[in-house]
């Protein structure tokens, strides 16, 4: 099981895992908890480009649709096909349920550590 401390986080609630040239992007535990039961996701195709600050996936919970934003400009090298059949895995194991894997990182936004992200979420709760 992936620990939050191994990951970096965006302010739009995605997590990022760096592994050499490869980067995996998923949804944070906070985000999945806010969304509730996730029932469908729409992911990009392999070979698509994702752009920093722009949406790359639709995440549908029972309640509403929301989007996942890429903290990175890069090219998609893999998508987590398992989630297409079992999107609820994002609820049960958010930090192990990566959405896409990218390579060829061009631009990347400032990311938060697990500690900083936790604080960021708490502050936005209070606001």
């Amino acid at each position: 099981m992936t620990k939050a401390t191994e990951l970096k986080f965006s302010k739009s609630h995605e997590w990022v895992l760096f592994d050499g040239d490869k980067v995996r992007i998923g949804l944070s535990d906070y985000a999945q908890d806010q969304l509730g039961d996730i029932v469908f996701i729409d992911l990009p195709d392999e070979g698509d480009d994702v752009t920093k600050g722009e949406s790359f996936a639709d995440i549908e919970s029972v309640k509403a649709v929301s989007e996942a934003y890429s903290p990175i400009t890069a090219t998609v090298t893999a998508v987590n096909e398992e989630l297409l059949d079992s999107p609820e895995l994002i609820n049960t194991a958010p930090l192990d349920s990566w959405l896409i894997e990218v390579e060829g990182v061009d631009e990347i936004e400032d990311l938060l550590s697990a500690e900083e992200y936790k604080k960021f979420c708490e502050e936005s709760e209070e606001a």
């Binding site: 509730g36 039961d37 029932v39 469908f40 729409d42 639709d58 549908e60 919970s61 029972v62 309640k63 509403a64 649709v65 297409l84 609820n91």
Partner: protein, 361 residues
Amino acid sequence: MDLKTPLYDAHLEAGGKMVSFAGYTLPVQYKDSGVIKEHLAVRNQVGLFDVSHMGEVVYEGKDALANLQYVLTNDFSNLEVGRVRYTLMCNENGGVIDDLLVYKCSDEKYLLVVNAANRAKDVAWMKEHLFGEVEFSDQSDQFVQIALQGASAKEIIGKLTKEEEIPKKYYSFTENANVGGVTCLLSRTGYTGEFGYELYCKPEDGIKLWNLLLKTGQEFGIIPCGLGARDTLRLEAGMPLYGHEMTEEITPLETDLNFAVKMKKEDFIGKKALIDKGEPKITRIGLQLTDRGIVREGADVYFHDKKIGQTTSGTMCPFINKACAMALVEKNSVEIGSPIEVEVRGKKIKAEVVTIPFVKK
């Protein structure tokens, strides 16, 4: 600042995720369950909802019936004491101001239950059209309303209430039932498509009744349910929701609620407009996605590349495990089984016209 229902503290204690809804702070779901679990609890066993946000108004007096006959679309002349009837309230153009339930307490007293979001609008409209000997009062703050829904509701109420006080027929009620020591209006109604009851009690008895139902329901697997499950349950049961399938711009005939509009009745507000408009040109259909995806309200619906209408609400229906939606489309453009397409964020997704309700039990 949103209002709190008398059950607010109980929701927090149970881990309710509170959201703002129709001027109230209410749980959308609970931490330990979530929408899907709550939905399935009602379909498979039983669930408990706080619906205290609903509004209650009372018409009392010699002309109470005459007032209802004029301001509402259904016919109450043959309604018996102890029975409930669904109705619409229309504006002069035949558009829907609200949908509501009418409880007949006596020949001269009727209790009406209206949608929370429409309460102020409804009350103003009803007051504006009062005539004759009638007293009208908004008693919304004098009731806690709790919905006990699901097959096991029968056993739970049976443990708390004397047999003769339990309403037997669908859409009937007992005005002063003693449910575990709490005086309630106990009705066999609900908004989930399941067997169930709705209970109305005084605000100060609310928490006691809520906890009593939860405790008695424990052995049947009862859980508290939020607004999220209320919406998925009503959609799966094909029940229309104000603001979605009904608006002031849509007539009841256009959204297939003819059964609650009695055109033979002498006169009621909106009747002339409904006659003048003639046969409705649109109709409400149910659709089920055959492709992966979810469709919400406001999505364009196509048949053979021709746009025939728009969805009015849609989500994932947990019990049948299919994405469903309701839509208003051109009348006679499609039939059950017709393959259609729905446009979701620029992409056309395949769907099929199916019968409403989506859940068949």
